[in-house]
Subunit: 345 residues, 2 copies
């Protein structure tokens, strides 16, 4: 019959954990293999789309609502005016201490009125703490031009806290450093700024301030956890008894989400990397679906791309605009209306 | 500047289609590679979990709401009482005319009061028509015992229509056959049965009657479409002009969803195959998360697994039950309450 002793049940769980790790290892191998096979195609695609105007702007706009909903009208205007190149890279693919799950989003812009940067790169590291695993990131400083900060100072404030965190991390134990961090001026300022931000919806550029859906986890802490897990698994495989984790790490009472500028930034970035990036051509073609329904690509498109150039010159009044209006494409037909923003009809 | 002639725009689209096909080919190769790497682990897992009571029942119950929501209380009872083995296979992996996207779900049951079958296998073929691509399936006959049909005759009626479809397909053109099909008695009977079914929620076993989210597409039709697409791509690659598709296939006016027993069956099956199947151990372990929170696995579980055996003997009254109640596990804590069914608290 089914009856088992607690010891037997625990042993079963340990064996299942070993199996799970084997699955995880194979999954990472598949990740690496996929990257290897796709790399030449991504290169080929980048070369080809470099000649297509507004390619990435249209891809982001046609992407599923999970992405599109985060692009506010004022973001759409920036994207339409100066967003040029985009790339996802798995920068820890060959790093034995890194993970194929880590990735970077690299946005390229031309000269514009909003910020000085030509490239904004946001890195996401796959890391583990004792009771969590996921993506963490460091805030990216955006060199906003005067009066043009779409995040209302949130990216700057997040960068200041990040610097404070780095200063503290050298001097003391990590839980001690975290306590000090929450008492620091940059922490209080960022928490206050987030609390009092009146805009219902944060700019897409707030993503560059994202840190974690849990809390910041350093490379050292994560490495240590990976190492301990590996040792435990080796013990299980050798049939040795596992001692319970008796460390006095009580649960962290601080809710670090009060200083998270962009909650859900890890999920958004993952959808961009795992869905939008590989399927970019399909999303781009989606822009033209409506026109194709009534007639083939025609002078209409040519005129539209023309009027787009005019729009770019004239429309700097700061009013809310739609990327598709700016680049002259029809509205998409198959997606539900985005909940978070207003658009011209 | 951005301005292009319609000819240039069309040429761009053709080139993008070629690139998309190259991405698709690489994706299929990754599929094959993944299957090859995972196959030994799936075998190992199957051997190991064969000794774990209710493993697959608990996995299905712990699976994400997209799956769990389709399991009605009466289905849960069947699952708890007699569901023993489960397997996903990519049965066209090495078939040059098939697709690595095709898969089969194979459910193994022990002797039970509901149906005669020991195995119910549901195959999903990845196929294309001129304006659609996706999974289609044939209804699977379930040998329900007298008065025990959880689908109220829907699987039987779907099988009858499927037989009619096969009879018609031999004699005439496919669009002609489809017209005849809609005028046939089995078609009208199934449509009527679906329309008048009063139950708000169809049994999970209705999945075995699923045909398509679009319409039935035969292997021959699909092969022809794949062949034509390939020829077109070869022409584009050689720089030849593509003639527009001038075939007089007007849009099919019939809505075949009126005879679809289980709308969304393709999506449900895909989540089972691509999420639940690879992550089954994690879902199984999720069952125990609550207990682990208060105390380690203990005699409580032993008792529960014991009382489960009693439940199986006593509880044949047909009242609504919860798998977790039947197998003696706590409720899950992290998921939103399922919208579609009532459960014991």
């Amino acid at each position: 019959m089914d009856i088992q002793t607690p010891e037997e049940l625990n042993a079963r769980f340990e064996q299942l954990s070993v199996l799970e790790t084997e699955f995880e290892e194979v999954e990472l191998e598949i990740f690496r293999k996929a990257e290897e096979l796709q790399a030449p195609l991504y290169k080929k695609r980048a070369d080809f789309v470099a000649n297509i105007p507004h390619f990435w702007t249209l891809v982001f706009e046609q992407a599923p609502p999970e992405i599109d909903n985060f692009i506010q009208p004022s973001d759409a205007k920036v994207f339409a005016e100066c967003f040029e190149t985009f790339e996802v890279s798995r920068f820890e693919l060959d790093d034995p201490k890194g993970s194929p799950r880590s990735f970077a989003l690299k946005f390229g812009f031309k000269e514009n009125e909003y910020f000085e940067d030509k490239v904004l790169e946001k890195k996401f590291w796959y890391r583990k703490s004792k009771d969590w695993a996921g993506l963490v990131s460091e805030p990216v400083k955006i060199q906003w031009k005067k009066g043009k900060d779409l995040t209302g100072g949130l990216t700057d404030a997040a960068c200041k806290l990040s610097e404070e965190r780095k200063k503290l991390s050298g001097s003391t134990s990590s839980s001690e450093a975290r306590k000090k961090e929450t008492k620091s001026k940059p922490y209080k300022e960022l928490a206050h700024k987030i609390e009092t931000t009146t805009d219902a919806s944060v700019s897409f550029f707030g993503l560059f301030a994202f840190v974690s859906g849990y809390r910041w986890v350093s490379a050292e802490e994560s490495e240590q956890v990976f190492k301990e897990e590996k040792e435990q698994l080796e013990k299980i495989k050798r049939g040795e008894k596992i001692e319970e984790d008796e460390s006095d790490d009580e649960e962290d009472p601080i809710d670090y989400q009060e200083v998270e500028v962009f909650p859900g930034g890890d999920e958004l970035a993952t959808i961009i990397a795992e869905d939008m990036w590989p399927n970019a051509i399909r999303y781009y073609k989606g822009t033209f679906d409506e026109e194709e329904d009534d007639e083939e690509l025609s002078e209409l498109d040519v005129m539209d791309e023309d009027s787009d150039a005019e729009n770019q010159n004239e429309d700097d009044s700061g009013r809310e605009v739609d990327i598709r209006a700016l680049v002259g494409k029809g509205r998409k037909s198959t997606q539900p209306p985005p909940a978070k923003k207003q658009r011209k009809a």
